[in-house]
Symmetry: C4
Subunit: 206 residues, 4 copies
Amino acid sequence: MTQMGKGRLEAFSDGVIAIIITIMVLEIKVPHGTQWEDLLPLLPVFLSYVLSFVYVGIYWSNHHHLLHTVQHVTGRILLANLHLLFWLSLLPFATGWMGENHFVVLPSVLYGMVLLACAAAYWMLQKSIIQAHGPHSTLAQAVGKDRKGSLSLILYVVAIPLNFTRPKIALGLYVLVALMWFVPDRRIERSLAWFDSANGGPPDAR
Amino acid sequence: MTQMGKGRLEAFSDGVIAIIITIMVLEIKVPHGTQWEDLLPLLPVFLSYVLSFVYVGIYWSNHHHLLHTVQHVTGRILLANLHLLFWLSLLPFATGWMGENHFVVLPSVLYGMVLLACAAAYWMLQKSIIQAHGPHSTLAQAVGKDRKGSLSLILYVVAIPLNFTRPKIALGLYVLVALMWFVPDRRIERSLAWFDSANGGPPDAR
Amino acid sequence: MTQMGKGRLEAFSDGVIAIIITIMVLEIKVPHGTQWEDLLPLLPVFLSYVLSFVYVGIYWSNHHHLLHTVQHVTGRILLANLHLLFWLSLLPFATGWMGENHFVVLPSVLYGMVLLACAAAYWMLQKSIIQAHGPHSTLAQAVGKDRKGSLSLILYVVAIPLNFTRPKIALGLYVLVALMWFVPDRRIERSLAWFDSANGGPPDAR
Amino acid sequence: MTQMGKGRLEAFSDGVIAIIITIMVLEIKVPHGTQWEDLLPLLPVFLSYVLSFVYVGIYWSNHHHLLHTVQHVTGRILLANLHLLFWLSLLPFATGWMGENHFVVLPSVLYGMVLLACAAAYWMLQKSIIQAHGPHSTLAQAVGKDRKGSLSLILYVVAIPLNFTRPKIALGLYVLVALMWFVPDRRIERSLAWFDSANGGPPDAR
């Protein structure tokens, strides 16, 4: 399999993620009235937009760090990347359904399922990159046991059924995972920093 | 005709394809109810979205491989590329019409016709690139007889009228062509790998 | 005024133009019926989409050639570029109004006015680039008297009032201007080819 | 914290800003009638679109200048950038609500609040870049006391409550701030020009 520039993979992913993050705002429909009360029904839609904006922002930022470690793009990485973009593209729908229905049970369950699918797809992308670069690659060593990734998956699996009995705790867990990832993945950054300093410069510094 | 950077051609194509793949999801309208039954009517829309997502993803991926071989961009290549983007831009409409009408005959026929037009446009783009680079270019040798491309065109031409008599087989053929292209074009990759190794590195490695 | 990379100017313009060309397709609303007759009312919308797609494609292609000649980006060029993007962004609205009303008088007049404004804005962008690079720059010499640009402006000015008396000829003039620009601007290409060959390579070849 | 290419940060921001500037035009709904009178009700929507287009264009242009000074991207800069994009993403909603309601009080107040939030987020992004590069960096010296930034914040804070008593003056202040920023930030340009000439070339010239 030949080496290919990762520039277009990044550009296409940036484009899709930028559109996903922006079309979610279209779910906040302009109200007909002109009083503050007319904005009130939009509050749950707005809050779910904020949560999803943070999630998509985190995915973009982590994707940025992840692809930073890629040396060559294989067909499998292309597919794994498209797979991740597919699940991310369902977030606007899930966000709209949850927000417009004030976080009732089933829409919140679906939202959690889409988040779970995104996390699993991200994990698979990470796996396919490690596989292409070998167990001694920068990424493989940086990710290590990937405790944060595993913890996210577990928290989603716990939160999804919790929506039926303790919906507020379930939502709280969605927010918790977002907060947990808010800071860019320092493990990768730290390992890369070491790699860069040992090699005289970062691989993709321009 | 002067040599021009292909960077903007790729960037513009990436932008258009990223938007096409993402606005298709807007056809999956947020339902008013909050039960699983309210999602059920969306299933055909969702399935047609999945199929079109895979198709657009394949086109993006193959476009990525195809432009990888381009050394210089001519006016004819620019036009052939716009022509391909035009037909791809009609996929969201065809997808929506087919999905919302549960894969009935005419919308499925139109969907196949748009797929056929995209495939023909892709073939023309490939042709215009080969023409600009000569019969001994990397791409010309990599594509060779282009059996997979020809087979796709034949399968579409068979599937379109089949919608009137055997609609399920017709749909199956649409899915089959997608599966057939799912793997990036190894002929091009293999030939490029040879070309790269013979020249010390890939042409667009950065 | 400092030299600035034109990379982001191109990237942002590509993004906006890619979105403009793609959201126009959203005006072709998915019909409720599933017969060919249900597609018939969409024909004028489709035809106006084709015309506008060609126009936006031409603007993107010419913009590509124009910025190819830019050596440094000034504040004035940034503004002139935003001004062009503003008028292009009104094309989807004008296209939709004209198409949905089967090319009746006033929507066709407005369409012509938006085309005229785009052409004038493009002329101003060209002017600002020439001004920044001096009368002996590649672009200044390539454009020369800019007969094609002036002719387009004249044809729009003729076509707009013609909508009131000879609407078909007016529409024919819109199509004629599009055809006239279909081929990338060979004056610029030829001059650049000379420039490139005299300097060992194109300025933005990567 | 490792050095990272700022290319993707720019590309993603360009994508989001390009989409924001373009989806605002979707608020100008195609009217059913075909007379000039049918366009008249769209005038306030159009005017608010023009104002927001200018604002988003200014933000893109200033963002372009600001990131020009960035040498390395930290996690904090990533977050501050996402925060700015979040508030900019609410502009289409605020623009639509203000325009469709003919600039009545509360929508105009909300519009001002979103502008204020964008300005504050921009200020925070600027701060985080200065913090990452040190008080003696090009940007820190270029921005200096940032009188124009502070003045904008003050004018928004004055204009927002003015909507209740002197709505026309409040709107006038929104326009005034836009005009004030219309010209790219010459302080940054001047300082960079000096920096570039002292170093033989701009840092990101390609």
